[in-house]
Symmetry: C2
Subunit: 428 residues, 2 copies
Amino acid sequence: MSRTWRLGVAGLGTVGTGLLTFLAEHPRFAPAGGQAVVTGVSARSRTRPRAFDISALPWFDDPVALAQSDEIDVFVELIGGSDGPAKAAVEAALNAGKPVITANKALIAEHGRELAELAESKGAPLLFEAAVMGGVPAVKMVREAFVGDDITSISGILNGTCNYILTEMESGGRAFAEVLAEAQRLGYAEADPTMDVGGFDAAHKITILAALAFGCAPNYAAAEIEGIEQVELIDIQMARDLGYRIKLVASAEQAAEGVLVRVHPTLAPLSHPLAQAGGALNALFIEGPRVGRIFVQGPGAGAGPTAAAVAADIADVMTAAVRPVFQAPAGSLKPFDPINPSKMMGRAYLRFLVKDEPGVIAAVSETLAEAGVSIESFLQKPVENAGGVPIVLTTHATAESVLAAAVERIAGLPAVLDKPRLLRIARI
Amino acid sequence: MSRTWRLGVAGLGTVGTGLLTFLAEHPRFAPAGGQAVVTGVSARSRTRPRAFDISALPWFDDPVALAQSDEIDVFVELIGGSDGPAKAAVEAALNAGKPVITANKALIAEHGRELAELAESKGAPLLFEAAVMGGVPAVKMVREAFVGDDITSISGILNGTCNYILTEMESGGRAFAEVLAEAQRLGYAEADPTMDVGGFDAAHKITILAALAFGCAPNYAAAEIEGIEQVELIDIQMARDLGYRIKLVASAEQAAEGVLVRVHPTLAPLSHPLAQAGGALNALFIEGPRVGRIFVQGPGAGAGPTAAAVAADIADVMTAAVRPVFQAPAGSLKPFDPINPSKMMGRAYLRFLVKDEPGVIAAVSETLAEAGVSIESFLQKPVENAGGVPIVLTTHATAESVLAAAVERIAGLPAVLDKPRLLRIARI
């Protein structure tokens, strides 16, 4: 148990320097009796100012050369990106039989199966706790702690940037674009925010959790993705009046017919734990018939939490545990059968702008009734300069296909002035 | 990875039969490639009616004989109790070099160090996920996921029976004894409820988590324990008026001077996640300087969750991971230096009964001021048949020794009719 594990770390942004700092501050980091020592680093720039002085560490210009080097036992990939140098380096390390630790959600979500096959064929662990929810051990919980149950659903808030933006929109009564611009100035959002606000980052993460939970290969292409760019302040305020808060929820459900993985803005009742997870917090429900519902919440990003997740993976490598990368050996992962979401039942929030004239509400109600949609609550509130009267309603549980047809019909009514807005309500 | 793991299961109550049911329903339970098969069972009665038919399973009258048997590879101890047959059987299995999985919090809290030494000397894993929080993987989170941080505090609700009783007292406006009697009738509380309502069960659990978090040996004897028997309905109601809910909180804190492990009724603000964990739920905060605060919540007991936790440990045994039982090898665990709680700073809730006469409040306030206690809020409310006027106040952060001295002085005032009641307020 007293062997030394030589680490090669590629990618020295905030997480990479956070990891080097942690290891320097814990020279006797030996959670499983072994000893971790960094014997090689690689990054795009050697000279860029960093919070940690790397001048004493062996430098590699090429992350692939580092990954293959005889000077390292474990490769830590913190470069990012689903392809390019990150993928090449991870493959090189696995091909050399070296354990790989990565924080790269895109890589695992998009190439998880082939990487798992490679890792298992070489007998090398491939670990990625830091890819999902930062310091919250979501991967470990789903992969290791829930093996004694058959997980039926996972859902939660997996993107801190979106959660921050939605929280600020509500608390400050400000529009999406304004809050996004501020978040970019403050460094909470990237210059190109698409991965975050478009829901793609959350989709990568829920794709990974779904694979771990259901024993199928990650299938990012099958994820239904809607981001928060279309969430308007009026929806946040109307939802609030109805007792809800809008969150970007990523969810994965397992049913007899298959699996449904989706990311979309969702109304959660104000008393719901997801509604109460504000700011940059991440939060997750994991549910199965035996264990019931487990809820976990914490900081989902940042140098400290993410570096701690990498350190936990280093400890796991040291234990020499032999466990499949996902829930089963890569060769026997179940096919991922996507459910057609149109069959899914759920409650919905609908908003549309109507002409301020008699008989409109009756026409809308009648149209919905004819379409087979039952109204749960109804809110009409004057809003200045709206160019009409906004009407908001929530429905009882309805099949998505029925809802979509109803929305079509409402959009066609002469008194309806714009495209109806549909948001889903959390199933609790 | 395709070896068969033969399990011996001792103790066939709800958790044991839950485990047998799970394994029967999952004949291909092979989370790490291996296969789990039950090849021996033992319990006090072979013929007692059970939810699972054990007639086809090899029977052992003596759990120690089962633990040592050549017919098993892994021993699962679900007997319970800190000593007696549970301890003898666990020791026998470890002495035979067999991995041990137990749900026995008393055994690990009271004999953890010696068992860890034995397990490590024999190279046999000793796992106890099911001992704490049922289906919530608290042990795995603290032991494995937080190794990249230096945990400073853990606190939470670890006993579902107490949480159920406190929740029912509040919602029904009923006294402790009445709710306890009902809980016993419904099977939510034991015939002898002392372990639960006295806080001892929660103390066992927090003792284990403290050892895992801080790298010291479990020291149950050092835990400060106060149960919920003395929580009166009036305190629940007064606390509520002040914006708090009373919970039995178990906490462990690491400071420069040492470690403090305690269990006591605690006022949590109504918006606090611990205040919102009602009924039989368990909930836990884990905090460290890098990861921040992680919150996890779920069902802390019951056959399903607890058997699932045992199954997760079975999977971990199959991975052949080599990890110390606690945070460090048993031989190098840090000494457990208890902090003197009298130095701890905290806010408090005080209630006492005074004569209904002028000048009483002035006398009380003056006494507190002289003792160095600063009042934060004050509540005086007529209560029928109280035999006097109950006065409730909350203090700003004060050292426990200062508070204790102030309580003494108040108790000595002529206008004070009974012993003041002191409850602590959660530090958030």
